[in-house]
């Protein structure tokens, strides 16, 4: 009789036994997250790659393989080349400005003073608030007629009402505007990254450097900066990736204009792929981001690893 009862309990206990093994339970618990990401990031990513080598549009959803024809076409398009150039200018211009402001801001916020917490909270606002909402506020500040910036400059006698700049209507100024708004949005992030780095440097290292006679600049650039580089590098990856692929600031402030002067890759991919429905060319344009992103991530990760060893 005992031999009949045994097979009934055995599967249950074996199941329990399997789930009590660390590796197995670990795999089961991590599976939902991995599956979600594989299905809705990995899958679509491969799909994007395939779109870019197909003739797919929303009007003619054919999966016909056309090789690199889409890429060959967009490379010959002067608007695309301009877009590519704009994207680099937009990214590196705003990151450069953002890092300088961030370093300077971190330097100020390092020193204790009354109300530092409140000041830090206020300085964080541009990074915290949804960028789309801040962008409309900037659009209103850059208004062609009621711009508060122009009003102030006229009131201060810097310019005359007749030659007040049309910020978003002039190609060069429009590019400057989107760069400024993006730097404005990113520099609080740069500040906290620098602060996180600087506070992680042990005080005894700094003390030792002072005892050894290192001056302010030497301490900053030969001791602190190399130590905080890994953290700054992570921050920089974020900044570059999110700026290089950004769409919202350009979409809301200038809509790519005037005459494509501020068109960037994300915006162009949206215009071609979604608005015009030419999915294959849109995907090809978006995929141009990939080599740059990969290069940035690889360079920075290698850089971090080398420092750790």
């Amino acid at each position: 009789m005992a031999s009949i009862a045994e097979p009934v309990t055995k599967p249950v206990s074996r199941f329990r036994y399997i789930l009590d093994r660390r590796e197995t339970l670990g795999a089961v618990m991590v599976a939902p997250a991995i599956l979600y990401v594989l299905l809705l990031v990995g899958g679509p990513f491969l799909l994007a790659v395939y779109y870019s080598v197909s003739a797919y549009t929303i009007y003619d959803p054919s999966w016909r393989f056309v090789g690199l024809a889409n890429f060959a076409q967009i490379i010959k398009n002067p608007v695309f080349l301009q877009t590519l150039g704009n994207t680099f200018l937009f990214t590196f211009g705003s990151q450069f400005l953002g890092l300088i402001l961030g370093k300077f801001g971190a330097f100020l916020l390092m020193r204790p003073f009354a109300g530092r917490k409140i000041v830090r909270a206020l300085i964080m606002l541009p990074w915290a608030v949804p960028i789309a909402l801040a962008a409309v506020a900037w659009e209103w500040m850059f208004d062609s007629l009621y711009s508060v910036i122009n009003w102030s400059m006229i009131a201060l006698g810097i310019i005359d009402r007749s030659d007040a700049p049309n910020w978003l209507g002039n190609p060069h100024l429009a590019m400057l505007c989107v760069i400024i708004v993006n730097a404005w949005r990113f520099f609080p992030f740069a500040i906290v990254i620098f602060l996180a780095g600087i506070t992680s440097v042990p005080q005894d290292i700094i003390d030792a450097a002072i005892v050894d006679g290192a001056g302010f600049w030497r301490r900053n650039y030969q001791i602190v900066l190399p130590l905080i580089l890994p953290i700054v590098a992570v921050g920089l990856i974020f900044g570059i990736v999110f700026t290089f692929t950004d769409l919202s600031i350009v979409y809301l402030l200038t809509n790519g204009g005037p005459v494509n002067a501020t068109s960037v890759l994300g915006f162009q991919g949206f215009q071609v792929g979604i608005v015009s429905g030419d999915v294959s060319h849109g995907a090809a344009i978006s995929l141009f981001m990939l080599p740059v992103l990969l290069a940035v991530v690889i360079v920075v990760l290698r850089f971090i690893r080398r420092r750790e060893v």
């Binding site: 964080m124 608030v129 949206f270």
Partner: protein, 281 residues
């Protein structure tokens, strides 16, 4: 004397620089505030001083926003989207973060970095295929498409945050529970989760603010006004014809910004440890 002068000049310069930063970061929000309370004749007169009220402040824009537009609907949409995404994210990220921190060893670390890197895959690379997938599922033009897609960035981010937190938790707690007869999973549910409530709360608030900040997917998937989340609605739907109604737009932007700004500032330190966690050991 010379020394005192230099010191005073240094102090003045310091506070001047601080003031400069604060003005630069807060002015656009001040601008939202003052615009939303100004009457139209006051707003659209180039001879008026724009920094303060030239005529009596008015609640007209707020009244219009709440009574004549879909603003309340957008708020509700954002709330529903946020709550659903938070639920999905917690269900996936909580066990995943624990597993990667405790149970998968060396592979888990690599896997964790892998998941985190997907957070860096930009929406502008994925929006084309995702918009086709959303259309094929019949979710085009519906806010449920966002409930489906937003976890693609909230899950990686929160898994990473929670992984860092679980690593800091002493393993003796679960070991004691297991000695007392708990299963591995039972120890996670009965001991680890109750002890992690602060971290879970952080994750919830972060996920929620991430859904409020998102713009690209919402813009791509949704064009009918009644389905828009608050950020998209305020930024794109308050323009009638070609005319911008700045009073209403700024009022809407202000209302939507305030809660996000407060939540973010409260959790800033955790956010920073979260994303730099890979670089500092």
């Amino acid at each position: 004397m010379q020394r005192i002068v230099t010191k005073v000049a240094g102090e003045v310069g310091f506070y001047f620089a601080i003031a400069f930063f604060v003005v630069v970061t807060t002015f656009p929000f001040y601008w939202m505030l003052i615009t939303s309370f100004k009457s139209n004749p006051d707003l659209y007169d180039v001879t008026n001083i724009p920094f303060w009220f030239n005529e009596a402040p008015t609640l007209e824009h707020f009244r219009y926003l709440f009574e004549q537009t879909l603003f309340v609907r957008w708020l509700l949409n954002s709330l529903v989207i946020g709550l659903c995404v938070v639920t999905i994210t917690l269900i996936a990220a909580l066990p995943a973060g624990y597993s990667l921190a405790r149970m998968t060893g060396r592979n888990g670390e690599a896997l964790g970095i892998g998941i985190f890197l997907t957070y860096l895959v930009p929406p502008t690379l994925l929006f084309l295929p995702l918009s086709r997938i959303v259309a094929n599922l019949g979710l085009q033009n519906s806010m449920w498409s966002l409930v489906l897609v937003y976890p693609t960035f909230t899950i990686p981010f929160c898994t990473w945050l929670l992984m860092g937190f679980f690593k800091a938790l002493p393993p003796e707690i679960e070991e004691a529970a297991i000695v007392d007869g708990c299963s591995l999973f039972g120890a996670f549910v009965r001991m680890v989760i109750p002890l992690s409530l602060p971290a879970i709360l952080t994750t919830v608030i972060f996920t929620f603010t991430l859904t409020l900040q998102e713009f690209v997917y919402a813009l791509t998937f949704i064009s009918s006004s009644a389905q828009k989340p608050i950020t998209l609605g305020v930024a794109t739907d308050l323009v009638r014809g070609d005319i911008f109604f700045w009073g209403e737009i700024m009022a809407g932007a202000l209302i939507a910004s305030v809660p996000v700004a407060i939540a973010y500032n409260l959790l800033l330190d955790r956010f920073i440890t979260g994303i730099t966690g890979g670089a500092v050991k």
